[in-house]
Symmetry: D2
Subunit: 359 residues, 4 copies
Amino acid sequence: MEKPTIDSRIPVAVLAATGSVGQRFVQLLDGHPWFEVVALTGSERTAGQAYGEACHWLLSEPMPVWARDLPVLSTVPEAVDAPLVFSALPADTAREVEPAFARAGRWVCSNASAFRREPDVPVLLPEVNPDHLDLLEGQRRARGWSGGILTNPNCASTGISVALKALQDSFRLSRVFVVTLQAISGAGYPGLASLDILDNVIPFIGGEEEKLEWEPRKMLGRVSGAEVALADFSISAQVNRVPTLEGHLACLSVELGEQADAAAAAEALRGYQAPAISRDLPSAPRPPILVREEADRPQVRLDRGAGRGMSTVTGRVRSDPIWHLKLVVLSHNTIRGAAGGSIYNAELLARCGYVNSGS
Amino acid sequence: MEKPTIDSRIPVAVLAATGSVGQRFVQLLDGHPWFEVVALTGSERTAGQAYGEACHWLLSEPMPVWARDLPVLSTVPEAVDAPLVFSALPADTAREVEPAFARAGRWVCSNASAFRREPDVPVLLPEVNPDHLDLLEGQRRARGWSGGILTNPNCASTGISVALKALQDSFRLSRVFVVTLQAISGAGYPGLASLDILDNVIPFIGGEEEKLEWEPRKMLGRVSGAEVALADFSISAQVNRVPTLEGHLACLSVELGEQADAAAAAEALRGYQAPAISRDLPSAPRPPILVREEADRPQVRLDRGAGRGMSTVTGRVRSDPIWHLKLVVLSHNTIRGAAGGSIYNAELLARCGYVNSGS
Amino acid sequence: MEKPTIDSRIPVAVLAATGSVGQRFVQLLDGHPWFEVVALTGSERTAGQAYGEACHWLLSEPMPVWARDLPVLSTVPEAVDAPLVFSALPADTAREVEPAFARAGRWVCSNASAFRREPDVPVLLPEVNPDHLDLLEGQRRARGWSGGILTNPNCASTGISVALKALQDSFRLSRVFVVTLQAISGAGYPGLASLDILDNVIPFIGGEEEKLEWEPRKMLGRVSGAEVALADFSISAQVNRVPTLEGHLACLSVELGEQADAAAAAEALRGYQAPAISRDLPSAPRPPILVREEADRPQVRLDRGAGRGMSTVTGRVRSDPIWHLKLVVLSHNTIRGAAGGSIYNAELLARCGYVNSGS
Amino acid sequence: MEKPTIDSRIPVAVLAATGSVGQRFVQLLDGHPWFEVVALTGSERTAGQAYGEACHWLLSEPMPVWARDLPVLSTVPEAVDAPLVFSALPADTAREVEPAFARAGRWVCSNASAFRREPDVPVLLPEVNPDHLDLLEGQRRARGWSGGILTNPNCASTGISVALKALQDSFRLSRVFVVTLQAISGAGYPGLASLDILDNVIPFIGGEEEKLEWEPRKMLGRVSGAEVALADFSISAQVNRVPTLEGHLACLSVELGEQADAAAAAEALRGYQAPAISRDLPSAPRPPILVREEADRPQVRLDRGAGRGMSTVTGRVRSDPIWHLKLVVLSHNTIRGAAGGSIYNAELLARCGYVNSGS
């Protein structure tokens, strides 16, 4: 597929556009070279209002002018005339609504966790496992859908999976300990009460550790027939909520399949390239993995914006007294880990011809 | 030794009393049943001033009235007439000054790291290894001192060592991964610039990981002749500075020497008792280890004050998909991890007869 | 009335005891010399459960042991057998429920704003206007109540009113500008979303400026027959929410009725005494007004706890280039400005014989 | 003067380029259409190193590539070959160094306070008082300089002065109360210790209130011969440091020279236009004044970036019970209030022909 020209941009919709992830979709799609937002949906309460009124805009970037007057539509396929929809729905709603859209022939790029565990639904990071798109044919056939569902991973799984992929390619993986320090925006809005997190750490996020111990194994696994064979390594995860706004940081200890020192590991991370198909997509992170050399980097506030918030930032790659490596991984949770990741996925869909402006 | 009566309180001094740890010593010694502060020392710049003037008091508790008019003395043994001195000196100064005091017959309870690596110097937590006091006789003999030096561990080592001791006693220890989330007060004053930590995480504290990988093994080791045989387990540590004021939280994954499930581990932690000699000292934590049952505890701000800041607080004791256990440990870094820990150590010294009011 | 003895403590109840203000009542009443908590009420959802289960305890001080097993009762007079009740109800509920309790013969010490504007209901600070209790007789008669309602002011009005009272007594007041910097706990729990306040200031709190421009004038006014003649000075208020946990700070510029320099004003603040009737009550602030001399005090975190959170802390008393004085006032919003203030009011009620253990 | 073309960009230098304001100059000058950075200076300690090594870069935007290899020069005119220099020097150093540059024929656009009080030195905001450039001729003549010094105001004076100018033009000004809530970055780096500001407010910034009570009167005054006649209104200022990263917010109460209601005042702010000479400069704020209509705006984190950090953001324009108006003003302190303001000033200098690429 050729790069779409401006006058052939693909019409897209954002489902649940008034929430915090939905707003990020609207902001990141402003001026997108391939996609044009033609529809925004919301709850029954907001349907019918102008987006500019219905939405309590929370981003420091101003609301795009074109979005203000778009009407908020109901979140049903009949109301939404676009071949590609971005879903910022909460998991429970997504479970009902996303299949309805897929059945109606739409490609759903979802940020929700609802379908990540389904064997025929890809959990996708374009620089890691673009070949998992191969699941889509089986998904459509088995479910009788003319569209399909594609998900991006949990915001905390994202950066970790990219870094582990680079290590897997070079040295194989055996076992991984990971402890995360996650920003409050990961909980959405209103999310955490301020009294719960100022001058505090909460060592718990419901369901998050289970996702972290499983999702990377799916993404780093192999498509085998109609599903993915999980990658053969194990993860132990502990998660924490800390008083930062954006950017999830993780400390990893890694046992590799073959011996490697810190310098070789840093080199493998630094040299990692996305597969050719996803390398030059509009949202492709440049570089895919940034390796900071300083002893005290990456830092959440200083480094979360690397590659316009799309790069995975690593650092403190050093040897581990028990296993092979220690390292730190940082990823922007509301850009790369949510809306930006879904958009990057949709670009891959478009590149691979699943959706186009004339569909 | 009998419990000292008020009129036989032991005269004590605080070295470097104007800094942030020094202030905590002054505050915690206010009204102490066994010790009476008779001397405060400072830098050459402040020597001669009244403490109330020399000191930029940073605690929310008011400065004790008796402290205001005490003159700031030079930090030399000749200026300080007290058998027991608490050292809040920085490590480099401590290396020179503490031996001078020990040589002059004083017992130095030090918060500095300068001598923790010396084979004949105890790193002491009274509820963990009071028998390490046995090193003191050899220390005095070998060094020709009439006093001696006793240290408390690094603030981040403290809570971890207490929790690991309980697990060691019940199930033996094999390997431990630990990731810390440490409060800004651990860096002293002025410590971190506010621009460096607001809305940020810094995954680095100089020298801290090395201490965390070694100090617990010394404390959990056995006195063997004139030194301690390090406990036979390994630790891999990663540390982070987070925007909290007080309280160091740590996430641990533990491989035990013998199989144990989470319930048994929680029971071992909950049932842990300090050795009889240190159990009812004035600063003894009650309980030594508090086990929170809730899914989202311990939390830094809510739980750091448990047992007046002296207890080790644990929680989220659960099974680990790779090793045996995951758990979270919290300890108050400026109370238990610094001044309060030193005072508790000094109480043990007094209880064991090393120092008394008539010495 | 004599000081009650332990065995004649007055039975009290806390209405809406599971919320954040209710919890503070429970914590502050623990060990109170005059009052004994015999009943806790909650919403219909929690009624019937044990308090320890129904309540998501948010304070760093542990829940008092006696509270854990108290059953949560319905918030109706029939369920509550106590002559004195503390109300932590929200304003809209308070409007219905508090009169029911008063009608049933209970004295209601309310933290709610519902009745502050009623001419016959005192807004009371015992060190400022204890004589406003005189309104109670008329209130009972006119409303046919055998009990009555007594309120404490808005948390931001509290400290300001105490400081202004001292200036009024010495120099009369003419006009006052006030800008507040208020802590997040003032909004209750869950209150502000963390995403709304981290690294942020919100220059708005609904209804707060109106309260600040009116309540101090009522408290500093004179009882005249069945109501209070508002004090004859004007206030212009602007309010801000800032990322602090507890402690409301206010910057005041004051035009006095008679000339006074900064030194005289500081002296008037420092020398302020509560009227004799309220001076030695158990919760009386000691001192009523603390005047900090340092150029950079009061500071919220360091000074909010002065007088166990009950004192009004002032500082930076200096001349104003337009009017007479600039000064800074700090008051602890959840202690003095809420539960602690109500308890102090109740102590005055008891001292004046309105309620006693045999009533 | 014509707009410079790329190949005739004016060579500029940044003095004290390694500090926090200096870094902001480097970042904002990256890709500037009129100016090309040819020299960076630092302290004697850093002179000779590459900028990329000498500088502990604190911004989340990455260091421009061209800056990394520029050598850090000594801060003396002989070392710096550029007709225009931006000074990020501290006030005490600026007092010595800036005249040396002016004497050597350089135009110094200074962020320092050192010369703001000099009668013949403009304190300039291009959208407020571009005519104050007229002081420069007298300055050069009287001091025998072939260059000159031009300053931008204190970061907290900036937004206030823009908003007051709009009100002055429409309604004249009589008296102004202002209370500020200032971000930590206003103190530079390292600036405030984190222990001093987390969960805290400090109601004091040395020298700041004096600047706020004087600088706006100079900027809103008239050039009269060789100096500025201060505008005839008075200001009373109180300042606070709050735990925000960037963005100074101020609450103003204003007595006007002629009656105006809130709607008229908002209209005057909204309709304010910069004088034609400065309206379309590259850094000109668009709009000069943004008026937020929502009850709870402007908010520091959401609105500080308006107009790429160059606009003055106002809101909550409402009537005042004592004087005429209350309003809230927000300005980005490190962009508009420091480096960005200086660059905007330099653009005006260039536009007016004081400096050009061939000078």
